[in-house]
Amino acid sequence: MTEFLAGAESGVLYGALALYFAAAALYFLFAVAKGEKMGRLGWKAAVAAFALQTLCLAARGVRAGHLPFTSQYEFALSFAWGIALCFLIFERRFEMPVLGAFVCPLCFLIIGYAAMQSREVRELMPALQSRWLAFHVSTAIVSYGAFGVAFAVALAMLFGGKLTGRRANEEKMDLLIYRAIALGFLFLTLCIVTGAIWAKRAWGTYWNWDPKETWSLITWIIYAVFLHLRLSKGFGGRKAAVFAVVGFACVIFTYIGVNTLLTGLHSYA
């Protein structure tokens, strides 16, 4: 059974990878050539990729005996899943298929990163055996996913015209960046709060200035400044897009940079 699940997990992982690549290509063709059919096919490919990725995570969870959140490989898969989920919701809500040309490559890259990590299944250490694991990491996934969508929209706003040869609806993109960051910020706050509660249960203090905690706070502050400027001064347009790119760079450093370059209490992966 374990071998079957391992094989199934690998199979759907590479299937999802291929479908995200196909979706990215189809969306790009849609953006460049204005082919509506390409846009619809890209959507179907993205949905299929998301479905396969969900199956991959489910298989991983069954094989590991716990939620697939606890290693670099598992979180990378979940991160890409979060981006795809937010993309599918926002794309339908805002009816902006051109985003697929920027989001799907991002999902492809992150799943590609996941595929390069060790897939060894490890039992949970005592510090990770808590119900708060589900709350804390799932809020991080949604948060990072929303920030990933905002990043992709920002790229589309900054470079979309040059790449696709047609000027995208900047006003709509600006609104989408704000809504995605607002959603991400809410969930990042929840992530930090649930993490603090869990830290209190596990280690006795809710804040240790651990590198992961510190960089989450840095990311939170950057997005807080963006939202503050947006809500009070109407900050938007290309400057806001640059902010979204910088914020996502912090997200990536918090996720990958801290794990690989800095050691602390969060060094589980």
Binding site: M125, P126, W209, I218, I221
Partner: protein
């Protein structure tokens, strides 16, 4: 007319409550946090190792080796609190006025103040058909009848609550740094010790390490009894499941190995001691002779110059020890259990290795405040992002709407409602 000069006090107040000031403070805090995550904190040896003695001296002079308690970092936090108080908390009356103005039944909105307007298709527009719960009617100077509705005034409180929440988090955290207490107690099953100056004692009744088949740890569990005067509380502490007693939380923090050691002088036992890895003992009449237990290996293996333990089981227990005389190391070696280590007329015999547990006891009277602050902050975020104070009014033909938050989204929502009610003017295109 000569412009009136602002009073210096007012100018200072405006500066301290301004957004630019808060952004400068936040930028400094971000820089401090980034530095603190990279530069070793409170570890002079690691600091010198990473940056050299000159670099370490420079960083120390800037307090970058202890960023999070540095005076400049604390000053930024204090000024940020001041900024939050001035720019938000003191604006409570203004926020209250905005709420009351929105829902004031006597206020007549003007078409010129609308964020946008949407044409109907000639059928009479009724706000109740568009989902408005509470409507009011008035007649203007020209005798035209209007219908209006205002809702979601709670959204005005979003930003205010966010700032209040952040302020309370900072205050609660700072208070916790001064008011919270922490004590460390470690020992083997059967030992009893005071918990610092807490007025309580801790007895370790039992300590178990639950191992899996692959020798990874499933859980650490300590059975404890905390005594205060005549009262006592018994319980268990494991990772993620602390024990509570007498206002303290007791956490299973870490574990290690301890060795019993007999010291003999010329064949006669003179001392028995229990030392943990990293601790030392000495003969009472020769305190300059120190026996240090460096490390304990429950299942000792020596391969290619590397010393390690193959499993956590007591299959081949050995201890790495060092002997010092007047702070000079005489010898370092690995000792078997029950085999004496001879140093001049003294013999040190290690035996009966036992696992000890390290319990951290904490008392934090401000944790509840920080928790409350987090709830306030989350409530503020939900109100700020998802509750949109809005006002809609119509003369029966055209719908006017006013909101300060994302008018494009409100417009899209109202167009959809009008379309469903069959009152939207034909020819309205969907957005690209």
């Amino acid at each position: 007319m000569v412009p009136e000069k602002k009073h210096p006090g007012r100018r200072l107040l405006a500066f301290l409550s301004g957004m630019r000031f808060s952004i400068v403070l936040l930028a400094l805090i971000i820089a401090g946090c980034a530095a603190g995550s990279v530069i070793p904190q409170g570890n002079p040896q690691a600091l010198t190792g990473m940056f050299g003695s000159v670099g370490a001296a420079v960083l120390t002079s800037l307090a970058l080796d202890r960023v999070f308690t540095a005076p400049w970092f604390t000053a930024c936090a204090v000024l940020l609190c001041l900024n939050l108080v001035l720019c938000s908390v003191l604006r409570f009356p203004a926020v209250l006025r905005r709420c009351r103005r929105l829902t004031d039944p006597k206020r007549i909105p003007r078409a010129e103040s609308a964020s946008f307007s949407i044409e109907g298709n000639g059928q009479r527009l009724d706000l109740k058909a568009l989902g408005a719960r509470k409507t009011r009617a008035w007649t203007d100077e020209e005798g035209k009848t209007w219908q209006g509705a205002a809702s979601h005034a709670a959204g005005f409180w979003g930003s205010w609550l966010c700032h209040l929440g952040i302020l309370l988090v900072i205050v609660g955290f700072a208070a916790g740094q001064h008011l919270s207490r922490e004590w460390v107690v470690y020992g083997i099953p059967g030992s009893e010790q005071p918990i610092g100056d807490s007025g309580c004692t801790l007895r370790i009744d039992d300590f178990q390490v639950d191992l899996r088949e692959d020798f990874t740890v499933r859980q650490y569990e300590a059975s404890l009894t905390v005594k205060k005067g005549q009262e006592s509380v018994a319980g268990k502490a494991s990772v993620n499941h602390p024990m509570s007693a007498f206002g303290m939380d007791l956490y299973q923090d870490s574990t290690g190995w301890a060795n019993w050691v007999d010291i003999e002088e010329n064949g006669e036992k003179v001392k028995t001691d229990l030392i943990c890895a990293g601790e030392y003992t000495w003969p009472e009449d020769a305190p300059q002779l120190v026996f240090l237990l460096n490390k304990f290996y429950p299942d000792f293996v020596s391969e290619g110059g590397e010393l390690y333990s193959r499993t956590p089981l007591l299959e081949n227990p050995r201890s790495l020890y060092s002997v010092f005389y007047q702070d000079r190391m005489l010898t370092m070696n690995v000792a078997e259990m029950n085999k004496p280590v001879q140093v001049e007329r003294y013999a040190f015999t290690l035996y009966d290795p036992v696992q000890y547990t390290l319990i951290v006891a904490r008392r934090d009277p401000t944790a509840w405040l920080v928790g409350l602050a987090a709830l306030v902050l989350l409530a503020g975020l939900l109100l700020a992002f998802y509750v949109r104070p809005q006002e809609i009014w119509t003369d029966g033909q055209t719908l006017y709407a006013r909101t300060e938050k994302a008018p494009a989204l409100l417009e899209a929502s109202l167009r959809t409602k009008m379309r469903r009610a069959g009152v939207l003017k034909e020819g309205e295109k969907k957005d690209d």
